[in-house]
């Protein structure tokens, strides 16, 4: 959409289609990057506050004179970011220098590419491709290469453990996530995110919005499986075994510091954003308003889409500050013996449902 529009615009100005393509893509990428950075900044602040409130603390604050983190500590994340950026970038002497340097950016790319197809509103989307769902699932797995690279290149046993665990975990949880996202695809008959959302407009019995999650019991279950698998894919508690700080110190990030570590951090929050976006688009009606028929203009759409994402990210934080961590084999147990069979059953059930009810 945005990119298409920009290409059209630039092709009028420049002769070469190549130049106009490059320009369009880079200009479209800038807001995405800003969005990622903003997302991480806000999410870090919110996470600090949410965790603090859940623990009867108040988190970063600043009231009086002196060097404080601003009113209610809003400047805390900026201070964090500045600290991370000016910190020395240490590379262990025995590390594999090239891989060590490259790894954060591979993870970053994986998260960054995912945002490109998120439908922020009925008109705001960077690029609208036919296989949007498939694309997000595909680029989501790019990150694991970066993690394995980081773990291997650090030449540290903790990092290696973290990387191995992470690889096993992400690859396993791709399956239930993939199987669950098939359900919206089955019901809508498309992989295009925009048409998937448009399918969900209207209402059931006049009260509930016609979102896929409310469509039938199987899709209701599928949403939870998808969401929890998504939490696992983003390596968050209770599935944070790759970085399990009480076991593996910091997992695959042990040797990283400064800017490279900040990139990891950015990617983690971007990943959360992407999977929440996919869950919102696939199950929760994307930019559709929760009150059927009202507030459905594109601007409201932006608002609804973001509030759904923010809610899902909040739930992830809520998980993190409530639950203990699973063990490696239990993690696999949950995936292979619980999620995958139920996800399979779901597909079967939705098929039957569609056949009988329509």
């Amino acid at each position: 959409m945005t990119v298409d529009y920009l290409i059209e615009l630039f092709s009028k100005l420049f002769d070469s289609p190549f130049i106009s393509f490059i320009l369009a893509v880079s200009i479209a990428g800038i807001p995405l990057f800003v969005l990622m950075a903003l997302n991480a900044t806000v999410a870090v602040y919110v996470e600090r506050k949410v965790s603090a409130f859940m623990m009867d603390r108040i988190g970063p604050m600043g009231q009086g004179p002196g060097l404080h983190a601003g009113p209610w500590g809003v400047l805390q994340t900026i201070a964090d970011a500045v600290k991370l950026l000016i910190k020395e970038d240490t590379i262990p002497s025995s590390a594999d220098k090239l891989l060590f340097k490259v790894a954060p950016f591979i993870i970053f790319i994986g998260a960054f590419l995912g945002i490109a197809v998120l439908p922020f509103s009925s008109v705001i989307q960077v690029v609208d491709i036919n296989i949007g769902v498939f694309y997000i699932i595909a680029v989501g797995s790019v990150g694991v290469h970066g993690i394995v690279m980081a773990g291997w290149a650090s030449n540290n046993k903790w990092s290696l453990y973290g990387a191995m665990r992470s690889a096993a975990q992400i690859i396993s949880y791709e399956i239930p996530a993939g199987l669950s996202i098939i359900i919206p695809i089955m019901m809508t008959g498309t992989m295009n995110l925009q048409s998937m959302i448009e399918f969900q407009s209207g209402s059931i019995w006049g009260i509930l919005p016609n979102w896929i999650i409310f469509n039938n019991p199987f899709s209701f279950l599928a949403f939870f499986i998808f969401f929890i698998s998504a939490v696992a894919e983003t390596n968050r508690t209770p599935f944070d075994i790759p970085e399990a700080e009480s076991e593996l110190v910091a997992g695959w990030m042990t040797e990283y510091s400064g800017f490279r570590w900040a990139v990891f951090f950015l990617s983690e929050y971007a990943n959360m954003f992407v999977v929440s976006g996919l869950a919102a688009a696939g199950f929760l009606g994307g930019w559709l308003s929760p009150i059927p028929g009202l507030f459905n203009s594109p601007i409201w759409g932006l608002f609804w889409f973001f509030s759904k994402i923010i809610f899902l990210i909040f739930v992830m934080m809520w998980f993190r500050w409530t639950f203990p961590r699973l063990r490696v084999d239990q993690l696999m147990h949950v995936c292979w013996k619980v999620f995958i069979p139920i996800a399979m059953l779901n597909i079967f059930g939705v098929g039957i449902w569609k056949l009988i009810i329509g």
Binding site: F53, M55, D56, R57, I58, M61, Q63, W318
Partner: protein, 193 residues
């Protein structure tokens, strides 16, 4: 199979219970908050603790302080200290007589006549283990931990960090020059006379 389903039910149920608890705490943060925002709010904080009064404390383990005018140089605190962080040196003098040249008062506030000029009284607070053992044997109650019930003698001080270790050595007695030292002890005085 039923066990499988019970397990899933248990998991969902217990996790949901936990999530409710954390959510409740998040919502009630104004009531439940326990954080003390240090530079603005300082201990003791009567409105938040269980309700005991600062003056009612038996003692507050904070910095040691010595009222050197009351010290009779009996060395009891030095002997009581398990980590030897108190160092005392004394010079014998006329019992109960003021010596203005070294700012020495002859009689303590309790009325005891002093027999020694305390020429050195240092406490190394970096070694102090805050056991409070030195304060009990003191016959004049001149060594004490500041604050709490002793607030009238010295206000509370728990913020005495320093950038140099040497600054943590507190010198309560004024260092005497050799000139001041000479002629203090009665024997020397006699010899002079």
């Amino acid at each position: 199979m039923s066990r499988y389903l019970t397990n899933i039910y248990d998991t969902v149920n217990t996790l949901w219970t936990g999530m409710q608890i954390t959510f409740r705490h998040m919502m009630n943060i104004r009531r439940d908050n326990v954080t003390l925002q240090y530079p603005e709010e300082r201990w003791p904080r009567p409105e938040r603790n269980i309700g005991f009064n600062h003056e009612d404390y038996n003692v507050i383990r904070s910095r040691l302080h010595v009222d050197i005018d009351d010290c009779i140089g009996c060395y009891r605190c030095e002997r009581a200290c398990p980590v030897d962080c108190i160092k005392i040196e004394t010079i014998k003098s006329d019992r109960g007589e003021d010596i203005p040249k070294v700012n020495h008062t002859g009689v303590t506030s309790n009325g005891t006549k002093k027999g020694f000029v305390v020429s050195r009284f240092t406490i190394d607070m970096s070694e102090c283990c805050y056991c409070n053992l030195c304060t009990y044997p003191c016959p004049e109650e001149c060594i004490f931990m500041v604050g709490g019930p002793n607030s009238s003698k010295h206000p509370i001080d728990y913020e005495f960090s320093e950038t140099d270790r040497k600054d943590l050595i507190y010198q309560f007695a004024k260092k005497l020059t050799p000139k001041q030292k000479s002629g203090l002890s009665p024997i020397e005085k006699k010899a002079e006379a």
